[in-house]
Amino acid sequence: MEFSNINIIDVLPGLFLVVASVLAMISIAIKRNHIFIFVVTSTSLMGVFLFLILYASNHEFNVEPLFVIDGFGTFVTGLIVMSALAVSLLSYAYFEQREERKEEYYILLLLATLGSDILVISKHFVSLFLGLEILSISLYAMVAYLRKRNKSDEAGLKYLILAAFSSAFLLFGMALVYSASGSMDFTGIAKYVSANPTLPLPMFAGMCLMVVGIGFKLGVVPFHMWAPDVYEGAPAPVAAFIASISKGGMVVLLVRFFDTINGFQYPVLVLAFACIAVASMIAGNVLAIQQTNVKRILAYSSIAHMGYILVAFLAGGELGEEAVSFYLVAYFLTNIGAFGVVAILSDQDRDAERLEDYQGLFWRHPKIAAVFTAMLLSLAGIPLTAGFLGKFYLITSGVHAQLWWLVIVLVASSVIGLYYYIRIIAMMFEKAEGSDELALHPRLYLINLITLLVLCALIIYYGIYPQGLIEQIHNFLQ
């Protein structure tokens, strides 16, 4: 019986996360201890990262029939794991201040990371859907985790209904693609695609439905409606998770799927993604201008950023993949840092989400204000930050592929975007007048501060000296 042709070492990163989540669950059953479960989570994430560095780099193999483990996947898995570690470091202090039961959060965090990791390495519809659902189901509970807040219920319910709906779209699309091509494996679909230069109708319908499902997860226009409400209602570390890890996994999957099946030979699909990219860049930036809630501003900015990343995705090729990898690193660091600042300034009653909460921050907490300024400048793409180089990479890949319109829209909408980032920075330098009753009284934890400073240092380091990172990406993508 061909029971197991799976080499256990190949799937070890996933196994690490599974074991850690089961261990966390058992430890809750025995005795609830926040620190213990936090240590288990962080160690396992660190363990996966060390394993990837020591063993898995420069390996390329398939775990038939579900997974492909290549350089791109390994690189992004490492990125996801380290981002999850940053999120869990930020979460510890955030949840320590709240009376809710905190321990289940870490199980969900580990499982969501596992889901994203599976998306990144999957080459089959079955593993794609399972990974997506593990990610989504963990996120439903994480978004609504703080039961005492009304807004988090609303956000959780919105995310649940819309994500379930989009999963149904994705599933129906996959069924149609399967019925047309007779294969759920990406390479099998690629064979069918190369035999059909014109897009057959069932395949076309299936692809369209899949674009809806994927677009929802990425939060791109016109499937972006959930993003601002969910970001606003979710706890700040969870918002960081959704903005970075959950979207990053889907981006990689999209790149891999289209690269494998060579979907760009169909002009219809290219046009559809180009329209989505343009709409996201413009709508994300324009809508963010009117917001006065920092979490909502970051939500709209992440919509715009997904639009930017689609430019590199459309450019395709090796340069496109490289640009996506670099941009994901910059985007993950920046977004987790920005939401980390929101998390560190939040107190028991509410998150630091109003623009007024940041008034005069520079005089109250100069270190945090400096970090937040760096994050916002990186989001805006100002030189000397990783965000600038990421955007530079995207534009290079767009120009290389001669996507002039997309590049022009990218540059123009970035300029619009500058306005609302700078507005927050200006707010932080404004002197606060009088004492506000609603002022927040956060307890600052050293662990948070250190995490933020490390993230900030990385952004500036990669902004000034990106060669190291670029060489790493080259090594992995070869």
């Binding site: 019986m1 061909e2 029971f3 197991s4 799976i6 799937v11 599974v18 989540s21 089961v22 669950m25 775990v63 038939e64 029939p65 579900l66 997974f67 009376e99 809710e100 039961r101 289940e104 199980i107 969900l108 499982l111 969501a112 596992l114 889901g115 599976i118 079955v126 593993s127 399972l130 990974g131 659902e133 593990i134 189901i137 963990s138 439903y140 509970a141 994480m142 609504a144 985790y145 039961r147 005492k148 959780g156």
Partner: protein, 175 residues
């Protein structure tokens, strides 16, 4: 067999349309059960008897019972009962009854014909299914386990009573 397939598929489509157009949840539920049964027949004719059995046991059985539990927990008052009596006219159950009768007829027909020769398909039996699931797709099965774990842990956390409510009671006692 081909005719049986088309009848079952038609019943599935009609009953599903009825499910999403009903305003009363119980009425929708009646059609939902019919829809599941029709789907089971479709699976059977396409050569997947195990999937057909699961469709009946899990969906038409367990899930529908769960939905009924949820409706019970909504705690409807007595007016709801009288209203229900008013609504439960033959008009309501005649539709699902006709569709179910059709399915019944198909069931008798399939048993009468005996051998389950699927329409031009290879019949997938349980043994083959198990070998596939626990052979190449073993990792998918284990990921399914993780999926359920995420669901259970999430539901456990969210299902707990809100503390907010307890606070309010405590305040009332102080008065």
């Amino acid at each position: 067999m081909q005719v049986a397939f088309y009848i079952a598929a038609l019943v599935a489509v009609i009953s599903t349309i009825m499910v999403i157009t009903r305003f009363n949840i119980i009425h929708a539920l009646l059609y939902l059960v019919v829809s599941f049964m029709a789907m089971a027949v479709v699976f059977f004719i396409l050569g997947a008897p195990f999937a057909a059995a699961l469709e009946v046991i899990v969906y038409a059985g367990a899930i529908v019972v769960l939905i009924i539990f949820v409706i019970m927990m909504l705690n409807q008052k007595e007016e709801a009962v009288t209203q229900e009596k008013k609504w439960l006219t033959p008009m309501v159950y005649v539709g699902p009854a006709i569709l179910s009768a059709l399915m019944m007829g198909e069931l008798v027909y399939i048993i009468y014909v005996g051998e389950s020769h699927a329409v031009g398909q290879h019949v997938v039996d349980v043994k083959e299914l198990g070998k596939t699931l626990y052979g190449p797709y073993i990792l998918a099965v284990e990921l399914g386990g993780m999926l359920l774990m995420a669901g259970i842990v999430g539901a456990y956390h969210l299902g707990r009573q809100k503390k907010k409510v307890i606070h309010r009671f405590l305040k009332e006692k102080e008065d």
